[in-house]
Amino acid sequence: MEFSWQLVLKWGPSILKSLTITVEMFTLSAFLALVVGTVVPALMRLGIRPLNALLRIYISIFRNSPLLVFLFFLFYGLPFFGIYIAPFWCGVLGITLNEGAFLAEIIRGAIQGIPRGDWEAADSLGLGRFQVLRFVVVPQALRNAIPAITGQLSIVMKDTSLMSLITLAELTYIGNFIYSRTFNITGLFIVAMIYVALFAVLNLAARVLETRMRIRR
């Protein structure tokens, strides 16, 4: 299993192309998952009983089933009903719903951690339930939960690798493809290193964000 530099040169362009797909999918899914993860617990705080039950079921289903099964479901199962979603969007939808559930739990915990005093103070200022959430509680909760959220986002990055199994030509796909053409491990190693580099970047960004948002009470 030799490491070959010629291979890197030959397959470089394809690897870069796959890298852009991975990054695109990551940014889009991460953003949408965050939206879902914020909206769901906020909605649950509104206290509408049937909605809460529904949202709890959603969270339970997506926290307890593998993303891959859901992806195959979307990709091979839906066409049976005539619904065709492109692989990229299957991936985005899958990650958003799946990680959204995890983020919802994290942010829900963070919201619960906001002291009752803040709620009451905002209430006494005349802010309605929804406004309290939007302007007082959720921003603080998000800030408190930054470490956990960035941890979850690194999992979003790793989830993008599953798209290789539903015909999306992202990093893992190209690594595997190179191996099947050349029987040389180089491709997979390079891809692994790229993932680690992406993770390092994410980590760094998280650290910067944490320092800048250090809470002063």
Binding site: F75, Y76, P79, L165, T167, N176, S180, R181, F183
Partner: protein, 266 residues
Amino acid sequence: MKARVILIAVLVSALLAMSSVFGIASALDDILARGKLIVGTDLTNPPWEYRDPNTGEATGFAIELARMYAEALGVELEVKDYDWSALLPALVAKKIDMFAANLSRTVARSTKILYCDAYVIAPGVAVAKAGKFESLEEVNSPDVLVNTTTGSIFVDVAEQLFPEAELITVPTGAEQLAGLLGNRYDVTLTGKFQALDWMKARPELEILPGYLMMDSFAFAVPYDSFKLWSSFNVFLRMIKLDGQFGKLYEEWFGAEWDPVVIEHGI
């Protein structure tokens, strides 16, 4: 007296040890010793190898051929199922004794593994939803998404014949079919027999006119398993001569097998 006995014992053991060192032992001997022939395949390629939908057992033309060989050797057959692109590495790493599937012969592969005699001629074809394409030339265009199995010979074929089109691959034959039906790509490349099997109950598919290339399938063994290679070839030639192969062919494909391949030494 005692010394003599010891000396003889030492000599005998030395001889036995030498016989295993000097290359008498081999993969075939291991197979016979353990009573099991381990073949690797991708069980999503009917009619060559697939799971019987009712019993869940591995079956198919290639599997039955391997089973006949195992019977001839007097051992059991064990079928190991992998993704197509993992099979050749598995053979080279000796995870399996023999690659028993619709394996095409290419020079590139022949530098890594030892091919046995070919057992069937099978052209490659392109399959698409009916009415989508009129001819093979239309496939060679930048808006066409071509598909095949990762690691299959059709990846090279696609690069040669359809350089303009985009190529995406999937790990197994099952996903090829499911993707084609699900409009994931415009056309997929596969062998004629597999295409015919797909079309048996799916009138919405059609085979584009013309063959992509002529192909021959053969089993393969690791590079140093000469005894196994030689033994399988003898078996294959014998069953072609005595009519058993013809019978198997007719059972699976409903057509008479043309023995001209033996004469042309293919």
